[in-house]
C-alpha cells in the first residue's frame, strides 16, 4: 500500500499475466520501452535466460534517473551492468514466495552505480512485503539456499508433522492446519522475543516430558545435519547455475 496502483505500469508480452495487475488497478502494456519512458523505478522480473534479450531491448531508453532492480536468479550485478549503460543504478533482489502474503524474506545487493538513496528507497518499499535487508552480493545464493528454497523445506516438515498426527489418529485437514499454526507461532516467538532458538527450545522441554523424548528422536535422525546439507546443496546449486 505504499504506492498507488495507478502509478504502477506492468509490461508483459501477452495478457496471460497482466490480468492480475489490472485487477489491482495497475496500468498495463505490452511495450517494455513504455515502462522505461513512464517510470523511474523499474523491476525486471523475467526468467533468467530471457533477461539478456530484454536488457538489449530497453538499453537505449535507460537513463541516469532510472533505478533498475533485477529479480532474475543467477544473473549477477556484473552481467547486468555490462548489458546496461555505464553508471546505471542497478540493484539485484532475491525475494521468496511468502512475499505474496506479505511475510516474505528478501535480500538485495547494490551495483556500483546505486547509492544509499536507492537502497533506502527499495528497502522502504519492500518492507511492506516482509523482511528486507541489504547484503553483499555473495550472500544472495546463500539466501536462496536458506529462504528461497527454504520455504519448501518448511512445507516438507509441516507435511511430516501432520502425517505423524494422522498416524496417531487425527484427521488430516485439522492436522495440517495445526501444523501450519505451530510453525507460524514458533516463528513469531523467535522474531518477537529475539531469543536464541536453543533457549526457546529448552523452555518447552519439561524434564522427562514429551518434548524432550521427541527431540531425542529428531537428534537420532541427525535432522540438524540433514538440514545443513540441504541449505548447502541449494546454495551450491545456485552458484553453479549462476555460472551457466
Amino acid at each position: 500500500g505504499k504506492v498507488p496502483a495507478s502509478s504502477i505500469l506492468a509490461s508483459a508480452p501477452s495478457d496471460k499475466n497482466l490480468d492480475a495487475w489490472r485487477e489491482s488497478g495497475c496500468r498495463t502494456t505490452h511495450c517494455n520501452l513504455e515502462v522505461l519512458q513512464e517510470s523511474t523505478l523499474v523491476f525486471l522480473a523475467t526468467k533468467p535466460h530471457i533477461l539478456p534479450a530484454v536488457l538489449q531491448e530497453i538499453r537505449p531508453a535507460v537513463g541516469p534517473h532510472h533505478v533498475v532492480v533485477s529479480l532474475a536468479a543467477g544473473v549477477t550485478l556484473q552481467t547486468l551492468q555490462r548489458l546496461l549503460p555505464a553508471g546505471t543504478k542497478v540493484l539485484r533482489l532475491m525475494p521468496n514466495l511468502p512475499c505474496v502474503v506479505q511475510a516474505g524474506a528478501m535480500v538485495f545487493a547494490r551495483g556500483s552505480g546505486a547509492g544509499d538513496g536507492e537502497a533506502a528507497l527499495l528497502k522502504s518499499l519492500l518492507s511492506s512485503c516482509g523482511l528486507c535487508e541489504e547484503v553483499p552480493e555473495s550472500y544472495i545464493n546463500i539466501h536462496t539456499g536458506l529462504s528461497g528454497s527454504g520455504v519448501a523445506y518448511v512445507y516438507l516438515f509441516a507435511e511430516a508433522l501432520a502425517e505423524g498426527a494422522v498416524k496417531m489418529g487425527m484427521p488430516g485437514g485439522l492436522a495440517s492446519r495445526i501444523a501450519a499454526q505451530t510453525l507460524l507461532g514458533a516463528a513469531k516467538m523467535m522474531l518477537e522475543t529475539g531469543e536464541h532458538p536453543a533457549k526457546l527450545r529448552g523452555d518447552v522441554c519439561t524434564p522427562g516430558g514429551t518434548t524432550i523424548h521427541a527431540l531425542h528422536q529428531l537428534e537420532k535422525g541427525a535432522l540438524r545435519a540433514t538440514v545443513m546439507n540441504a541449505v548447502e546443496a541449494a546454495t551450491n546449486r545456485a552458484c553453479d547455475m549462476a555460472e551457466d
Binding site: 536453543a198 529448552g202 531425542h216 537428534e219
Partner: protein, 297 residues
C-alpha cells in the same frame, strides 16, 4: 579441602597395605582397622564401600549407631529406604543421607547431589552440603533424580575422557605432539565449561559466538551433527541412568547373592571390617558393574 581438621577424621579399612591408607595417614587422618571404633569416635559416617558390601557394614556397625550419627552412603543404587530398614532394627530413627558424587572431587571440582532420609534434619543436609561443597558443586535433590544424576555427572567424566582422547587423536593426526594435544584439548574443555558456568548465555548462543560464517568451526560442527553427536550423548546419559535403575532394582530385591562376593573378602568382612571411612572423600567408588574384587574402593 580445608573444611575439617585432619585429626577430626578417622578412616577405617581392613587392608592396611593399600596406597590410599598411607595417603590418608600422611594427611594426618586417624586410622583404624575397626569399624566399630570409627563409629564410636565420629558423628558423620561416610560409607564408601561397594554396594554389595553395604548390608554387611550396616549389620556390623548397626548396634553402635546412636541418634547423633549421620550415616552418609555414596553407594550407587542403594536406596535410603533400604539403609533405614537395615538400621532400624538397631536404632529407631537413623539419620540417613544418600549422596552421589563423581571422581573430580579429587581436584575439588566434583559434582555432588544428596537426598535426605526420613529422620535426617535440614541441618544434617546442610552439614553434608558444606563438607561436599569444599570439593566442588553440591546441591540437594529428590532421591528419585539420583539415577539421572549418575547418568549425567556421575558417568560424565568418562564421556569427557573419551572425548579428550579422541580430540587429542585429531590433534595428533593433524601434526601435534601427543602431550601438547592432550594438554590443549583438556584446556579447551575446561575453558568452555568455565565460560558456560560463568555466563548467563545458553550453550547454543556460546556455540554460535565461536562460529564465524563459512569458517573452520562451523565446518567441523557440521561433521559432528552428521555423526549424530548430540543424540549419542543423550543416548549415553539415558543408558547410564537406566543401568543404574536396573542395578538398584537388583539390589532392592537382594538379587546379588553372597556367592557373588569373593569368599576371602567375605571372611575378612566378618572377621575384621570392610572399609568405613570418615574422610573428606579422597576417592569414592561409584559403580558396581564389576564384582567387588577390591577390598577397598
Amino acid at each position: 579441602a580445608g573444611v575439617l581438621a585432619a585429626h577430626k577424621i578417622t578412616a577405617s579399612s581392613p587392608d592396611t597395605d593399600l596406597p590410599t591408607v598411607s595417603g590418608l595417614r600422611k594427611m594426618g587422618v586417624n586410622f583404624t582397622v575397626s569399624n566399630k571404633d570409627t563409629v564410636k569416635s565420629s558423628d558423620v559416617l561416610f560409607l564408601a564401600v561397594k554396594p554389595p558390601i553395604i548390608p554387611f557394614i550396616l549389620e556390623e556397625v548397626g548396634p553402635d549407631i546412636e541418634a547423633r550419627h549421620i550415616v552418609v552412603s555414596c553407594a550407587a543404587g542403594v536406596t535410603i529406604s533400604s539403609i533405614e530398614k537395615k538400621l532400624s532394627t538397631f536404632c529407631p530413627t537413623p539419620k540417613v543421607i544418600r549422596c552421589m558424587t563423581n571422581t573430580p572431587v579429587v581436584v575439588r571440582e566434583g559434582a555432588t547431589v544428596y537426598a535426605t532420609g526420613t529422620h535426617a534434619d535440614v541441618e544434617d543436609g546442610k552439614l553434608l552440603e558444606q563438607l561436599m561443597a569444599s570439593v566442588g558443586f553440591c546441591t540437594e535433590v529428590e532421591e528419585d533424580l539420583i539415577d539421572a544424576v549418575t547418568g549425567l555427572s556421575g558417568s560424565g567424566p568418562a564421556y569427557a575422557f573419551t572425548a579428550l582422547d579422541a580430540l587429542a587423536d585429531g590433534g595428533v593426526k593433524m601434526g601435534l605432539p601427543r602431550r601438547l594435544a592432550v594438554r590443549l584439548g583438556a584446556q579447551a574443555l575446561l575453558g568452555a565449561a568455565k565460560m558456560l558456568l560463568e555466563s548467563e548465555q545458553h550453550p547454543g548462543q556460546l556455540k554460535d559466538n565461536v562460529c564465524s560464517p563459512g569458517g573452520a568451526t562451523i565446518h567441523a560442527l557440521h561433521f559432528l551433527e552428521s555423526g549424530g553427536f548430540r543424540s549419542l550423548l543423550i543416548n549415553a546419559v539415558e543408558a547410564s541412568c537406566i543401568r543404574t535403575r536396573e542395578l538398584q532394582h537388583l539390589a532392592d530385591q537382594e538379587k546379588i547373592s553372597p556367592a557373588a562376593i569373593k569368599k576371602t573378602l567375605l571372611d575378612k568382612v566378618k572377621l575384621e571390617s570392610p572399609s568405613l571411612s570418615v574422610a573428606s572423600a579422597s576417592k569414592v567408588s561409584l559403580f558396581t558393574n564389576k564384582s567387588p574384587s577390591s577390598k577397598k574402593n
